[in-house]
Structures are given as structure tokens and as C-alpha cells.
């Protein structure tokens, strides 16, 4: 079954769209039709709004999870098992949108990248390589070299501990940068964190290969 996301398209008027079931007016962001109760397509709101959260880098994980589970409880397709195929498909697209929002906001790196994307600092998809300054690239290369020279599980784990500490520090740098609305600083720290994550992943793979 293909999931069709029905974002807009059905003639939004003064913020209203037409309910697919009773064809009456429904507010663009409503989850259910106030006239007939039918579940509505997800619409195009940002991930924060979808989960009922303030747009901010600093979010409380437990609160995020509570919001996510609360919405899944009413929108998950399993709640519509006896309903027509169309209604199930709409519920599924709602669940897809919730999962995407949760996945993006749950990970601090993805959340930071998303905020930068919303602000127009980085473009859709991959990281903007032009902001990568020479020093940062050199640093990343040196670390990668150190990893390739590391012999034995202990040496790799030592590297991982250091890099892990650095990643935690970067998170607080990112948090402060967003709080001060210094998006350029946030972007630099996000880039460094991206490299740190990559290095950690490579170290993990190398360690796993040694343990085999």
C-alpha cells in the first residue's frame, strides 16, 4: 500500500481545507474533522508544531516522548483497523509524519541541523561543505589518521572516550549558540559534531571487526 501524503492541494481557503469524508470545512491543522470526526491528513507543519512543542534547541526528552506517544495513541493506523482503507491510509500518513518529527527532534544533532534548515542556514539534505574551514578539516583528518593507526581494542576505546567527551561538550556549545541566536556559531559546532559522530561510528565498526 502506497502512503499518499495529501498535503494541501485540495483548495485551502482562508486556512480551511475540505474534509475528505464530509467535504465540509476543516481548519488546516486540525487532526480530526469537527463535524464528522474523520481523521485528517497530516498537512505541512514543522516538526515542533506537529508534536505541540516550542521551536527551540533545548527540549526536554521526557516531554518530547510524552507528546509523541500521546499523538501516536490517537493517530496510529492500528486505531483505525476496522475503518475504510482510505481512512487507514490517512492515519498511516499521520503516523509517518509523527515518526519523522520524533526521529528528527529526538537526536540533538538532527534537531540542530533541522533548526538551521528552518532558519535557511543550511540547505536540504547534506551538510554545506563550504562553511567547513581549513582548520576543522585538518583536525578531522588527523583524528581519522589516529584511528587508522590505533591498534587493539583498548587504543580504539581510548579514542572513542575522548571523542565522546568532545561530542558532549559540543552539544552544550550548540545549545548556548542557539540560545544567543548565534546561528553561525551553532552551524560551526554542528559541523564539528557531524565529524565527531562519523569518527565514532568508524571507531565502532573497527572495534566490532577486531572483536569478531
Amino acid at each position: 500500500m502506497a502512503v499518499v501524503q495529501q498535503i494541501g492541494g485540495n483548495g485551502a481557503n482562508a486556512g480551511f481545507v475540505s474534509c475528505w469524508a464530509c467535504k465540509g470545512p476543516v481548519a488546516g491543522r486540525a487532526l480530526f474533522c469537527h463535524t464528522c470526526g474523520a481523521v485528517q491528513p497530516p498537512g505541512s507543519v514543522d516538526h515542533f508544531a506537529r508534536l505541540g512543542l516550542e521551536r527551540s534547541f533545548d527540549i526536554d526528552h521526557d516531554h518530547l516522548e510524552k507528546q509523541y506517544l500521546g499523538f501516536q495513541r490517537v493517530l496510529h493506523p492500528d486505531r483505525f483497523a476496522g475503518k475504510p482503507a482510505k481512512e487507514r491510509a490517512i492515519a498511516e500518513s499521520q503516523a509517518v509524519a509523527l515518526n519523522e518529527a520524533y526521529e528528527t527532534l529526538d537526536d540533538p544533532l538532527k534537531r540542530a541541523q533541522y533548526l538551521l534548515r528552518l532558519a535557511g542556514i543550511i540547505s536540504e539534505g547534506t551538510i554545506d561543505k563550504t562553511v567547513a574551514d581549513q582548520a576543522l578539516l585538518m583536525e578531522a583528518m588527523e583524528k581519522r589518521e589516529a584511528l587508522s593507526e590505533a591498534e587493539g581494542v583498548d587504543a580504539i576505546e581510548q579514542l572513542m572516550v575522548e571523542e565522546g567527551k568532545g561530542a558532549i561538550e559540543l552539544l552544550s556549545v550548540i545549545s548556548k549558540a542557539f540560545a544567543a541566536d548565534d546561528l553561525a556559531a551553532a552551524n560551526r559546532a554542528v559541523l564539528r559534531l557531524t565529524y565527531a559522530r562519523k569518527l565514532l561510528e568508524e571507531a565502532r565498526l573497527k572495534r566490532a571487526a577486531l572483536e569478531e
Binding site: 500500500m1 481557503n13 470545512p25 474533522c33 505541540g52 492500528d78 475503518k83
Partner: protein, 628 residues
């Protein structure tokens, strides 16, 4: 006789309530179990001897296949006509099966068409889907005999680590057996459901599921009725069957016998299984089998057996370590460990699991029945409503083959489902108008090391210079874990055609032929299901109209109102009938008749909004319907 065919006239039209009754099925490698919720308690459906397990064994002797214990009894006399452990072949190609080491207990039919492996059984050739369908039919019949009416809906469990091809094959088998699959649920998730409802458990639980042919390890977070899978892992080619193989190979080495036929291999494996089961209870056992007139008798003590299986258990613990790492957790975070699958009865397995998680695992629900119980609970939840919710993940990453046979991952493993993700690709030749998209599943970086799911030929790309086209490939995984791929050229908006060639599935034509040849009323069932779906849809439309008339009926003049009422009653009559086409025509007629009404309602809302009634107030009022 387990298999009976109901003539349409034989079964009286059941009540609507019975109609919606759904069963839970654990379609296992070694044994299958069917359960359902009656009243408020899940119950395993047993035979007259109180036995809930139906051996997943099918014998093809006469016209009708024989399933279960009766089939197993035929094994010594007709080893070439009795098929066991077919689950290991679901969604598998010929190459996969040949890679399985040792003497094969299957006679594989060579075919040059590719696709799913076929087995030679006596004088016929059957697919694993058909064999599984025969097992499902037997389970369906057991439920129908117990209930005294037809059963049409089921929740069927699959190993969490099943790939897309194996999931599709399972769904096809259900279709062939005349069962509508409400949901494919992962076995560990079902087991957690069976435990969670009893104890209202909260926290992180590990489910260690060692079945006959597959191993799954899942980590779930339980809170207030939500079962959220955090990570899942395992090995789809590791199970209790491998313990049997290890024992059988040991016996072959000791006795010096070699070059067994597939029939002899089956008999030896059966003897090995019996010895393994005795070793679970007793410190020693004897492996006895008669092969080609020679009697084999080998005594084995538990210590020797444990040396044989230790490397296999070690493999399961490696997967446990990986899944904890994936979820960024340690063994200390795990509040409880649930054991699933008959192979977890082996004392060494329990000892290793207890040592790994530093706690005694839970096994108060029969590990052979716990999955079916969970499936029954989920079937009940889906048909009758419930506060529990299962949120699962995709077990293996999904990706696309790129230049040089390298895999570009589109969806990472352990991503919550349902999920939709898109990735952009481009052409690499001037004027290229077609593109072969090869979808694969697995964690490795090269295509050869991953499983091929299907090849999708994208045609009709407008001619452009190399690199100018933007081809967006969208992967959509539904709540059953099944993948749909679509593609579109973005710069021109041309939606290109996609031809799906499943690598290890059955084509639509093959499925149609099987349905036609099937002795059951599968095709009839499907027709009826379509009729029911149309009715549900029409009733939804009528319900929505009633709500709209109640709210805004005043907008209609008497003539308009009677036109709408006429169309509505026309549809109501169609719904009462049996003609699907008439229901569709009725819905279209109602759609036309209510067009003006819909327009008036829309205009009214817009006018109200323009007059200053604040839209965000309206929104706020509506959004609270679904807010947590």
C-alpha cells in the same frame, strides 16, 4: 481429519460480532499455534488431547494435504512427501537454499525463472508459500471448529528479523489460506504483549526469542500500555534446528555414514531433535534412527551436547550485544528478560542468557505459546479496540544499489515504522531515459553482501544531459514492515513508470494461478472481502453526511435536500445488497448530489472567518481532539 472444506451453503451467515472475531497465529518453524481472546482472556486453541502445538509439517500423499502430527507420523514411510521447517525457505531464492550447509532435508526443484525456491514433493512441485498456506488453513480450521463459524481475520507473527521478501511471502500464504491479515506483528513484540498485559510492566525489557529456525533479540520500552520497540536484531538463519544439525553431524561423524539422501537426512534430523529434547530434561540420551536399513544408536551426555551447541549460543549473545549498543543501553538497563521459543528450554541457553543479562529470565508463560497469546491479544485489540499500542521498528536497513555495487542506505535499521523516506539520484549519461533501481536490505556496504528485494525499472525520464535529472526515489514502509518503492523525475515532474520484479517473491500472475488452483474458496473469500470493504467505505460516507446535515442542513433548500436524501437512500439500499459495482455507483451519485452542499458549507466557513471569527480559535478547539 484436520482439513475440512466448508461449502458456502454449509455455514450459516454468522452474526456481525462473530464476523469480526479475529485469531492470533504463530506460524513457527517447528510448531505453529493458534489462539484467540474469548471473554477477556487469551486462550490457546487445543486439540482433543489438550495439545496446543501443531507441528509445522505438511504431508502430500493423496488429494488433500495432511498437516501437523498426522503428517509427522508419515515421515518414516514417506520422507520424500513430508515437508518440515518450510519457514526457513520463505522469501528465499535457490542460491540461499544451496548455501545452507549440510545434507538438505528438502528436494529443491530446479527452475530457471529465478524467484522463490520450489520444492519437489513426490510428483508435484510446491512453493514455500503454498506449504505455509496449508498450515494456516489447518489452524484456521481448528479455530472454526472450536467456534462453530467462519474465521476470516488474523494477526500473524513473523520473526522481527524477517526481511521484506519473507514478510511478503507470509502475507501471500495467508491470502492463499483465505485469511485477511490485520497486522503482521513481530514475534518478540507479541511475546512482550503477552507478558505486559498480565503484569502491567513498565521499563525496558529484552525479549530473547530462539525459535526453530530464527533468532531474534528485541529491546522494548513499556510504559502505560505503549510497547515501543527500541531496537531489534538477530539472525534469520539460526535456531533450534541448528542444534539438531549439530547433533546429526556428530552422529554421522561417529558412525562414519555419509552421503545421505534428503529423505534420510530428514529421518536423522528427526531423531536428533528427539535426543535434544530428552537432553533438556535428562543428563543423557540416545540418538536412534534407522537409515537405509542400518540402525544407528549413539549415546550422548549433556556435556557433549553443550560443547556442540556452545558456538551457536555464542552467536546469539553477539547479537544481544549489538542490539544493546544500537539502543545505546547496557545490560544493566534491562529490567526483565523474556524467553520465547522452544529452544530456550535448553538449560545451557538459559544459563548463558542469565549470565549475560545478570538476572534470571522470565519464562512463566509457556515459551512455545507466548507468541500466539500475544498475537491473539493484538487481534482482539485491533477488532475490539484497546489502550495498548505497538510501535515497532524496521529490523534491517533498506537501500539502493549505486555505481560500483555500493549500497546507499535510504532507511536505517531500527527506524520506527511506518516511515517514508526519499532520496535524490541523477542520471550518469547524456540523454539517459531509463534507470534501474535495485532495492536491497541489509547492513553491509556492498550489494553482494545484502539481500536483493527487487529491481524497479524507471522509464520515461526526459532526455537531459548527464547529472541534470533529479530522480526522487521514495521508500515507504508500512506498519507491517512491508516496503513500497516509487520514483519521480523532479525537474519536469514526470512520474515515471515502475515495473516491480520481486527477487524472491511470487509474481502477481503466479499468485493468481495459485488462487485459481487452490481447493479452498480463497478467491470467493477475496471477492467478499472487497464487498465488505466497499460497504465499510459507503457507511463511512453516509455517517459523514449525517453529521454534515445535522450541523449545516439548514443551508439546503427543500429541493436540494430531497435530492441529497434520494442519493443517500439509494446508497443505503446498495449497501444492503451484494453488488459491489452498485455500491460504487451509489457513492459516485451521492458525491455529485452533495457537491453544492459542500460548496455552501465551505463558503459559509470562509465568510465567517473573514468576518473576524478567529481561525486559530477554531483550530485550537479541533486540535485538542487529538492532543495528548
Amino acid at each position: 481429519m484436520l482439513l475440512q472444506i466448508h461449502e458456502p451453503g454449509e455455514t450459516p451467515e454468522p452474526h456481525a460480532l462473530e464476523r469480526s472475531q479475529a485469531i492470533g497465529i504463530d506460524l513457527g518453524t517447528t510448531n505453529s499455534v493458534v489462539a484467540m481472546v474469548s471473554g477477556s482472556h487469551p486462550e490457546v486453541l487445543r486439540d482433543s488431547h489438550g495439545e496446543g502445538l501443531v507441528p509445522s509439517v505438511v504431508a502430500y500423499l493423496g488429494e488433500e494435504p495432511v498437516v501437523g502430527k498426522a503428517a509427522l507420523a508419515e515421515l518414516p514411510r514417506h520422507p520424500d512427501r513430508v515437508i518440515a521447517s518450510v519457514k526457513r525457505l520463505m522469501g528465499r531464492g535457490l542460491g540461499d537454499v544451496k548455501r545452507l550447509a549440510g545434507a538438505l532435508p528438502y528436494e529443491v526443484a530446479e527452475n530457471d525463472k529465478g524467484g522463490m525456491v520450489r520444492l519437489r514433493v513426490g510428483d508435484r512441485v510446491v512453493s514455500p508459500v503454498e506449504i505455509s498456506a496449508d498450515i494456516l488453513k489447518a489452524l484456521k480450521t481448528r479455530a472454526e471448529e472450536k467456534l462453530g463459524h467462519r474465521v476470516e481475520k488474523a494477526v500473524i507473527t513473523v520473526p522481527a528479523y524477517f526481511d521484506d521478501a519473507a514478510r511478503n511471502a507470509t502475507k501471500d500464504a495467508a491470502r492463499l489460506a483465505g485469511l485477511e491479515v490485520l497486522r503482521l506483528v513481530n514475534e518478540p513484540t507479541a511475546a512482550a504483549l503477552a507478558y505486559g498485559l498480565d503484569s502491567a510492566a513498565e521499563g525496558i525489557y529484552a525479549v530473547y526469542d530462539l525459535g526453530g529456525g530464527t533468532f531474534d533479540i528485541s529491546l522494548l520500552k513499556l510504559q502505560k500500555g505503549v510497547f515501543q520497540v527500541l531496537a531489534t536484531g538477530g539472525d534469520s538463519a539460526l535456531g533450534g534446528d541448528d542444534f539438531d544439525h549439530a547433533l546429526a553431524e556428530w552422529a554421522m561423524k561417529r558412525t562414519g555414514i555419509a552421503g545421505l539422501t534428503s529423505g534420510e537426512a530428514k529421518i536423522l534430523l528427526q531423531a536428533a531433535r528427539a535426543a535434544k529434547e530428552r537432553l533438556t530434561m535428562a543428563p543423557g540420551a540416545e540418538l536412534k534412527a534407522t537409515i537405509a536399513g542400518h540402525e544407528i544408536r549413539q549415546s550422548i551426555d549433556r556435556g557433549t551436547f553443550e560443547v556442540l551447541i556452545e558456538p551457536l549460543i555464542g552467536r546469539t549473545l553477539r547479537a544481544c550485544r549489538q542490539v544493546l549498543e544500537d539502543a545505546r543501553l547496557t545490560a544493566a538497563d534491562v529490567k526483565g528478560v523474556v524467553l520465547v521459543g522452544g529452544s530456550t528450554r535448553v538449560p545451557l541457553v538459559r544459563a548463558f542468557v542469565a549470565d549475560f543479562f545478570k538476572q534470571q529470565p522470565l519464562a512463566d508463560i509457556d515459551p512455545d505459546e507466548v507468541v500466539a497469546v500475544g498475537a491473539a491479544l493484538q487481534a482482539h485489540a485491533l477488532t475490539r479496540g484497546s489502550d495498548t499500542l505497538l510501535l515497532d521498528v524496521i529490523p534491517l536497513s533498506l537501500g539502493i544499489e549505486t555505481m560500483g555495487g555500493i549500497v546507499e542506505k535510504v532507511i536505517e535499521r531500527n527506524t520506527p515504522i511506518p516511515v517514508t523516506k526519499a532520496q535524490d539520484f541523477t542520471t550518469y549519461q547524456d540523454g539517459q531515459t531509463g534507470m534501474l533501481i535495485h532495492a536491497v536490505q541489509g547492513e553491509r556496504e556492498t550489494v553482494d553482501a545484502c539481500r536483493s528485494l527487487g529491481r524497479f525499472e524507471l522509464t520515461g525520464i526526459p532526455s537531459m544531459v548527464a547529472g541534470a535529472a533529479r530522480i526522487r526515489v521514495t521508500f515507504a514502509v508500512d506498519a507491517d514492515g512491508l516496503l513500497t518503492v516509487s520514483a519521480e523525475e523532479r525537474t519536469t515532474g514526470v512520474k515515471a513508470e515502475i515495473a516491480v520484479k520481486p527477487s524472491y517473491g511470487l509474481s502477481d500472475e503466479e499468485m493468481a494461478t495459485m488462487l485459481r488452483d487452490s481447493l479452498t474458496h480463497a478467491r470467493e473469500d477475496m471477492e467478499r472481502r472487497l464487498l465488505l470493504e466497499s460497504r465499510v467505505e459507503a457507511e463511512r460516507v453516509l455517517l459523514a453526511l449525517a453529521a454534515a446535515l445535522k450541523a449545516d442542513g439548514g443551508l439546503l433548500g427543500p429541493a436540494e435536500r430531497s435530492e441529497v436524501d434520494r442519493a443517500a437512500s439509494g446508497l443505503r439500499q446498495a449497501v444492503a445488497g451484494e453488488d459491489r459495482a452498485r455500491i460504487h455507483a451509489g457513492m459516485e451519485a451521492l458525491d455529485r448530489a452533495t457537491h453544492g452542499f459542500a460548496q455552501k458549507r465551505m463558503d459559509l466557513a470562509i465568510q465567517a472567518a473573514l468576518k473576524g471569527q478567529r481561525l486559530d480559535e477554531v483550530e485550537a478547539g479541533m486540535a485538542t481532539d487529538g492532543a495528548p
